[in-house]
Amino acid sequence: MSEYIIKNGHVFDPVQGIKGDKADVAIKNGKIVKDSEVSKSAKVIDAKGKTVMAGAVEIHAHIAGPKVNLGRIYRPEDKLFTCTPTHGHERMGSGNSIPSTFKTGYEYARMGYTTAMEAAMPPLFSRHTHEEIRDTPIIDEGAFPVFGNNWFVMEYLKNREVENTAAYIAWLLRATKGYAVKVVNPGGTEAWHWGLNCLTVNDPVPYFDITPAEIIKGLIDANEYLGLPHSMHIHPNNLGNPGNYTTTLDTLKIAQGIKPKNKFGREQVLHLTHTQFHSYKGTNWGDFESGAKEVMDYINKNKNITVDTGNVTLDETTTMTADGPFEHHLTELNHLKWANVDVEVETAAGVVPYIYSPNISVCAIQWAIGLELALYAKDPMRCFITTDHPNAGPFTRYPRVIKWLMSQRARETQINAFKHKDKVLSQTGIGAIDRELTLYEIAAMTRAGPAKSLGLSSMCGGLAPGMDADVVVYNINPEKPFENPDQIEAAFSRAACVFKSGVEVVKDGEIVSSGNKRTLWVNAKVNDNPQVMRDITEKFLKYYSVTQANYESLGHSFVPNPYALEVDATQ
Amino acid sequence: MVSITVNLISGRTIQQGVAIESGKEKPSYREAAGIIEMDPSDLKKLGAWKNTNVRVSSDYGSVIVKAIEATQGPHPGLAFIPMGPWANQIVNPNTYSTGMPTFKGTPVKVEVSPNEKVLLGVELVQKSCFGDSS
């Protein structure tokens, strides 16, 4: 089998605590091994004067599924004049804010990403999500089915039946080949099916008379009861409205004091996603200001929470989320084309284009809030970099976000370019922060941290022997400081060399192989629960529009290379 | 020869659906889609008995179909030929640069021609494309 040795690179690996000193990374049969175990015939990759990290892990992006495809279908102008003729191994692709599947795989690989999680999968459409995952080359992928507005979950949690909820979650993860429990605007999206919403954690859901707080608490307990690899992954109520940081803090307080219970090395019980959209102070868009300090102070103090930032990258992009009411609110703000799909019994979704213009003070403040969150974070292993692709910006902008985080000069040049520079400085604390993240901290925020939070710390996110051989070499010499911050962006945009499961997939920014991607999913075994099975059969007879047999075969025959994480929750 | 002008639309019917599944080279397809449904008042204006063959022509072509009484009327001034090769001999192919031909809303002239035959589906298209050779 193919053997490689990456010699003399500056290794940054928070899993082993290596902070940039020279070390060799040996690869054999798709795994990382000690240097000694590799024969002389191993192919040498010279990484002298370069940076070596593990393959990056994307914890939250909308890259595969029905609403992503609805975004592709209804934005032909997103592809005008931005496609380049295909060459070499690459299949054709198009799309700026919403790339087509082949292009998604290539763009992630080029930046050194080897694992990515689809952030919201409506269970009824999971077959569609898996077909798109099948057509996204190179990167391993998993998908989070949404549970926060599911009729089963709401009916069980109304009576605090955590065990029944856990049994239903296990059944649904198996039926849809899902990975984790995702909650989007709990209760609010079910209210949206009547055109309403839940703006705080205590607003009751129409007809189901359960509050978002009860849904959140119940799903955390069910998740820990099962001991799933990843914690409950939440997009709280009241997204994107000034003054919503109080709702965010109320949501986080629900997780206070709950201990994680799992055998995957996960230490958090709640993951708060795209925190930027949930850290707004002020009462309207006029006095809108940053709540990043308050939110991050709480998170720094509570160890059982991980977050991802959701950085705004100041591009024309497309917002898409299962938070139906927010998208309707957004289309009333900017009058751009609005797409919406309400899904029976389960969830909803909305898609609206949005232009984050540097000339609008709100967008500039959003940009600052995203960066403040990462810069206030004390423990980079609990704060990850995302743009909630494509909501705050396309994932292809990660190198630019890393540039802003690693260079105060880059931040200043951007602040000076804002039309309302004064407002940005007065309404946020970005001007006063001079912290510049190091490569080691960036490695924690994009590799080791997300892998640990997802329960994948034994497989990816690090370079310890025995882990998958997902290795990236960047043209960055840590010993030679960069004169121009744009060099950081350029280096992180086109990796010098990327290995995925021991196969070289990128060389000098060019795709050289389509790799052999896996679909990660969680197979949770629970005590058999006839009552839940009866409820499921009854709901399919009365309220679903597909038969139970066709629903249960949604994820099966369509995952060419599945990788199941086994969980045994039988008590 | 008496002729009237009506506005032609085309679309699905259950019989047309069944016929396309049982074979478009068979007479059942001609029975289902080689017809023009006209309002009784239009038939009276034309002076035609029900179930007689008529020649329907537009600026884009002409075809022989069997005239029957409207099954989903009344719709005076409006004629209906189920979607298929007969309708598509005469519908307006102008797409107004949207890619979609104007299947509905083609002004047509209808005249009685009892002794001309309604061709079978496949035969009709072959004759239009290759003339009488095949």
Binding site: G93, S94, W338, V341, K542 | -
Partner: protein, 438 residues
């Protein structure tokens, strides 16, 4: 004895009924009985066992007769045609599964072809409208559980989607609609008194070709503005009345079909209907859904969109996807004489395109992949029969509300016949060899 296969999807229309049960002989060769399907679905299943079925590819000879050829020879010919053509059109894809569509996209990419599906003559203008103004929609189960206002605008489900009303839109008893059709008000807008219109509480007999004006009038009526006495043949009192009926519901749904997509105004009719739906969302909860015709045209749109970025009329000739219906759509390409070869699968343009377009199709090298004898195969150079998709092969299909359901294989195909996916793999491998692509 015989065995019953349940939860079978019916491969005909966009309703994609998935509760069909088929009684099959023990040796799995013959379909004996079909339950729960409408008359069209039943005919599709039963016809697969017809004796006079074509089971081998055949090539058109100079004198017009057919000569039987092997699948290998057919694949060679198809690959040659696609390799030589400067601008081949690969059309259809709507009556085959997503795996075959994905294989077809790969072929189109290597051949640098134009790919288009039957949306070009069905809901293509809907997709243009969605691209201009979005689409507030929902799944069919939402309508079953919640809808109390149902509008059929320019569509006739009684004929085109026979079980739609009993499975989703009018009769089912959902979570919040326990009284079934008694808890729903039905409005039908159609220039004819269709069989669907006869069941309606309100039938607006709109003047043909003026749907755009009537839709605009409804939006004006919602804002309680001035209206002329009659609009599109409908008196203004009735328009104000219908506006009130629409507004007073808790959950409304507008279904629309060929009546608006194929008439004058084309995409603007749907654009205005979607704008009306957005306006109604200011008062109550409204969604709008196209009545997709073929059972997997939605699937073809989804596969094309996630692989190339556009739902239909995709032009790959420059090495990257381009899209502009009116320039890259099949009818215009044919009428302007812009293509020099054609590969048709899973559709019948010979019967359903205007004859001016079919004439162009007949005078270029045309490969037709279809289990039936159709006008397209009648004018093609090569006719390749394949197994019935949805009956003799399974595969992924997408319903009119984009919900994916797995087709099931019910009975074996006749001896020695390939599925469309297997034939496409043969064509792809030969084409790659000719073009020297890895």
């Amino acid at each position: 004895m015989s065995k019953k296969i349940t939860d079978v999807i019916c491969p005909f229309c966009g309703t994609l009924c998935d509760d069909i049960e088929v009684l099959v002989s023990d040796d799995g060769k013959k379909i004996l009985e079909v339950y729960n399907a409408c008359v069209i679905g039943t005919e599709k299943f039963m016809h697969s066992g017809a004796k006079d079925r074509i089971t081998r590819p055949r090539m058109r000879q100079a004198d017009g007769s057919w000569k039987e050829v092997s699948y290998d020879e057919a694949a060679d010919y198809a690959a040659q045609v696609l390799a030589k053509a400067k601008k081949p059109l690969m059309y259809g894809w709507s009556s085959t599964n997503c795996e075959a569509q994905s294989m077809g996209n790969e072929i189109a990419e290597v051949a640098r072809a134009c790919v288009d599906n039957t949306a070009a003559v069905c809901h293509g203008t809907t997709l243009i409208a969605v691209q201009d103004i979005g689409l507030p929609s929902c799944t069919l189960g939402e309508i079953k559980n919640r809808a109390d206002r149902v509008i059929f605008w320019g569509c006739n489900p009684a004929h085109a989607h026979p079980r739609h009303m009993s499975r989703y839109s009018i009769f089912p008893r959902g979570f919040f609609t326990v009284k079934g059709q008694m808890s729903r008000k039905l409005v039908v807008v159609d220039p004819r008194v269709t069989d669907t219109a006869r069941m309606a509480d309100v039938h607006l007999q709109v003047a043909q070709g003026q749907d755009y004006e009537l839709l605009c009038a409804l939006r004006v009526a919602l804002k309680k503005e001035w209206l002329p006495d009659t609009v599109a043949g409908v008196p203004k009192e009735k328009i104000y009345e219908v506006a009130e009926i629409l507004k007073s519901g808790r959950f409304g749904i507008i279904f629309f079909g060929m009546g608006v997509t194929q008439s004058l105004g084309k995409n603007h009719n749907i654009d205005e209907a979607i704008a009306l739906t957005k306006d109604l969302n200011e008062y109550t909860k409204y969604s709008i859904m196209p009545m997709r015709g073929h059972y997997n045209v939605t699937g073809s749109g989804e596969v094309l969109a996630w692989q190339f970025g556009f739902p239909y009329s995709v032009d790959l000739t420059r090495g990257f996807p381009r899209y502009n219906p009116g320039d890259s759509s099949s009818i215009d390409l044919l009428n302007r004489g812009e293509i020099d070869a054609a590969f048709v699968i899973g559709s019948d343009p010979g019967a359903h395109f205007p004859i001016s377009a079919v004439k162009h199709l007949a005078h270029v090298p045309l490969v037709c992949v279809d289990p039936h004898i159709t006008p397209t195969s009648g004018v093609s150079k090569l006719h390749v029969p394949v197994a019935f998709n949805g009956v003799e092969t399974g595969g992924s299909c997408y319903r009119m509300d984009n919900v994916p359901i797995d087709g099931r294989k019910v009975v074996d195909a006749p001896e020695g016949m390939l599925s469309d996916e297997e034939f496409l793999v043969m064509v792809r491998d030969r084409l790659k060899k000719i073009k020297g692509v890895a």
